[in-house]
Symmetry: D2
Subunit: 355 residues, 4 copies
């Protein structure tokens, strides 16, 4: 809106990466505010295949715990935004990330890597903007004046980032690292206390380190396209899987408290670790483990499109050539238990093992 | 017994590192078999302080999953055995590990590091021994002939290694990596299904990266000596915490399937990761994380007493100087949930974080 | 001068870290320009002991070739500058590094680490300054107007940084990476062609990884204080030792061509590598080698006073406890040849080696 | 000979990897001793292309100094030996390495990796052999008795390993790490004192990290096949390039003193480091540098044909895709001086650099 006040032609772009949002309402809101054009893009399939799958191959975990659900969504969103900007001949790209977090960095690094000629505008770092809107109340009043609907309500005094892979919660009452998170915070999973009293049992089949099929061995449900597999794992993960409360180190060093729920990703991490160790040479695994730590740092810091991240992704993908096989597991009350595994590429030799 | 047959004076040594065993029965058995002297040594305190605590400081995990419960017990057992051997002037040290596993290596490396003049006898690698006892049946008959009580019964067709930190299960019917473990395998934890329907909540206090106090915030139980803290965490961990089923890479490359339960250690790993990230500089953490991977490999491979493991332990301990503070967590149905944390050494700055 | 024009009280500070400079001329120049106070500080001893020695222990080399002669001088200079600023109650600290290089970063990171309350002024990044002085000619005219003597003359169309450890040459005609450096560039060493036709032979004695004595075995010259040892090695290094022409990666990614001569440092690197491998356990060496790479990157990037650099320095120093012994070497026409070594802490076992 | 005494059919195999040897004499000697068949194989081309070139891409250096001239020859020799053994249906492979060095390990690891069904016979580890030949004198007498010519003469009281890449000298009078090597030891290079008083100047052209052309810019000599390039660099290296005297850590931990001369390899290392940094992204370089350290250790330890070495070679080769360009250098009195470089893939930006 403010961009329009200043005489720019505004094209809005909204990526559907699996967040729970009413895209038609968003479209109308954008049109009402005077957007010249509104792009609403369903990126869920490419998000899974081009971004989540490489993270699964890497066992990508930042600082031993965070599965990078927000970090790997940024380059996915930025890629399409840049495509649109190029197509529309846009000279400027804007985003709404604040001036203290990682997302501004991730977003801008991606844009400049993919479209070096563009200029990124970060309203939260422009004095004209942040002096006008000193806090939430100014924003609310501006929204009210122009009749712009706003999502933040007093009910949820924290901020969220949601996509197919995870929801993160931070800021507000969560900022005090000692305060416990409220029980009703979580939107993606049930509390272990309220989750089903019987387990679900799955068989996950991998090829080259990515899942190609999931089967529920209790009811024979089966999925085999990437988006369906991932969505189904999220559904099963509602047993309370993948909730963490951590303090992490942001790119610029500052520590930040975040609460995450990553149901499908957590199941996949367990299963992939299992099939990988089963099929990969011990020493190759050690080297690849080191590359994965680097990959996770690069992705967290926003360097998905850097030469070094390309390089590391290539090396990790190479290590996955024989990571084929099936893992059986059960999911219950927040936990994932590996039950067994088999593989045509197994390096396990039963004869050798027996004493 | 066979040693005695061959004319050696035999001194037996049995370490109490927290396994569930009737030590008086063991003593009588040893005496009956003709041991000149029987040492039964309670090493539980030193096991916790000198071996488990450094592993906690390191967040020691082998191949991303195994908490090294057997690996860190070996150097503890060997240290005392060597002390006794020196005191008694023994020329030979014997052990019962088989010729295919890691333990023979761990044990022998430790002995030779601490007592280079001694000679280790590994019956399972002596032709005279392994030709006489080609399998379990020969051993059973030998035992029967000399009236030696034996622990392995048809009820548990796998082998176990138990101590204060964990129980491991492998071999026998578990050798097939596809076979699921039987539900009644576990001796240290309850199944999540059978574990309490209410959570336990703990506050764990750390100084220099090791726990100095645990308090159950529901019933105000509190423990503050190392052995008591660790034992209490094991008790709380009975909620089904710390069960894993993995295939791991042994030192000599061969893959092996193992099932482990490490209740207290799993709680401590979560809590330590939390307080460490809260109080440690980001880049120091990265460097220390790399050293910890190396530490875990060294310990797994039996090099506790090597110069490089000494060096890495020193560097890791140095990194823990400011790892002080309290972590609140809840334990429920196999899961550990971090709830909050506070520290006088916190590097977290609430003012910086807010957008 | 410009600072004074703007009404600040100016205190000037000049560090003697071994560069070839007429400090009395510098003092007069500063006084003439109106400095309220002039500090000229002889930091050569502390430069050797507190900065060069840790680099020797680390075998510090950036990108396999650069011995960090400029990088390790910055924190030495900044440390005293901050001491003076604190003593004088200065609110601002200024420096003359340009806006494209590493030195501005190194300098400012050091100042802020040691004196977080101060504000650093970098004239080359202030519009008022760089708009007024668009190039060398403007600066010359300003200097002429105020009668300020300037060092850059048409004779040397490149820039230099000199100290006890090295001289670096870059920019100007050296910027084209294909252009060969002129033969008369070097000020610290002779060309191998013009260097003596007989070798010098030295014995260097180390304790805890730092040299404690150097003896010329041909003429029995001997030095044993840090500054004398280092200065003497520089003298011997005049045989053309330590000249390199490289393209390196600056902190901010940009590549830069630099020519360096580091005579004493190059001799010490060879000798220390030798005595270290002789006295250090193989696996400790591997771990320490990894830490040294990190140390070199940190120092190059200006993080000498960071927590991670402190940590790495501590770990490296720990590794040096047994690095004692003597190395014999010869220096001739640009080369350092190790001839032999001996040590009370040697891990070399002649009996084992013979076949 | 002893093999024949024991009733085996003996096929002899001698690899020409560039050592200075009279192969016809060797053939006759083998025939005289009763070999059923004699293979003398010229492996020089494949040694350069398949073994030296990957080492150049990696900047392979063991423990910061040793260029691995012996280590990378072993897998080259073993590969052909295994081909011959397979073709001839040999059940056993024998070699002459002693029981204390690295070469037995390198050789046997290679054979078993390439031909798992074969059995390696190491005479120096067979009691029947080493009891019969307790020292050099027994061997000499055996040789005399059967009229076998032997190479070791009183003139050279040390052992040597020579190939196209280097000559190593160890044992004998060199075993004492303090003893200086005799001036007449070196066979491949001249002493810097005796080397030419004028430099040679070369331009080396690289594609994908390997040299494709060398030109002497003084006399316009030019070579462009791998073997010719490498041989020419050896010739130029006679200026005394690449002599080192080190103590290294063998695979099994023991320290060993070795003296090496690697003329061509040393020139290539300097040139490759230069063109690589010029054309490779900074962060990719850091990751690749870590992989190279691992590669060098693997090769030194004899794991050329292991899965992890394959993996690392693949990753390193990937990093070299843009390492194209020309390096100018001069060689004089034992030193290599880089003079300049240019590349179509240069990441150097002259505009950015100027202040």
């Amino acid at each position: 809106k403010m961009s329009k006040e200043q005489g720019y032609d505004v094209i809005t772009y909204l990526a559907d990466i699996g967040q729970d949002e009413d895209f038609e309402v968003a479209r109308k809101k954008a049109e009402k505010l005077g957007a010249k054009k509104v792009y609403i893009e369903d990126l869920r399939k490419e998000f899974v295949q081009d971004f989540i799958w490489p993270a699964v191959q890497a066992n990508a975990v930042y600082e031993d715990r965070y599965l990078l659900g927000t970090s790997i969504a940024r380059p996915c969103i930025a890629r399409r935004q840049v495509e649109i900007a190029r197509k529309e001949g846009a000279e400027y790209i804007s985003h709404g990330a604040t001036g203290k977090g990682n997302d501004q960095i991730r977003f801008e690094l991606s844009c400049y890597a993919l479209y070096p000629e563009v200029k990124v505008i970060a309203p939260w770092r422009i004095p004209e903007f942040y002096n006008r809107f000193k806090g939430r109340i100014d924003l609310m009043e501006f929204a009210k004046k122009y009749d712009i609907p706003v999502p933040v309500t007093p009910k949820a005094p924290w901020s969220m980032d949601a996509n197919l892979m995870h929801i993160s919660y931070e800021s507000g009452i969560l900022e005090n690292p000692k305060s416990h998170a409220p029980a009703d915070l979580y939107l993606m999973t049930k509390s272990p206390k309220d989750s089903p009293d019987t387990s679900d049992e799955l068989e996950l089949e991998f090829q080259s380190g990515v899942p190609v099929k999931v089967t529920n061995t209790k009811d024979n449900t089966s999925k085999s396209s990437p988006l369906e597999i991932y969505s189904y794992l999220n559904e099963i993960g509602k047993h309370g899987v993948g909730r963490i409360d951590i303090v992490e180190n942001r790119f610029i060093g500052m520590k930040s408290r975040g609460i995450y729920e990553t149901p499908g990703g957590t199941i996949l991490l367990s299963a992939h670790l299992d099939i990988e160790t089963f099929t990969m040479d011990k020493e190759v695994r050690r080297i690849k483990q080191g590359l994965s730590v680097r990959f996770s740092e690069l992705v967290y810091n926003g360097f998905w499109y850097s030469p070094e991240c390309d390089y590391v992704r290539h090396c990790i993908a190479k290590s996955q050539e024989n990571v084929d096989g099936k893992v059986q597991l059960s999911v219950f009350k927040g936990q994932v238990y590996i039950l067994g595994r088999e593989s045509p590429k197994s390096l396990y030799n039963e004869d050798l093992v027996s004493p």
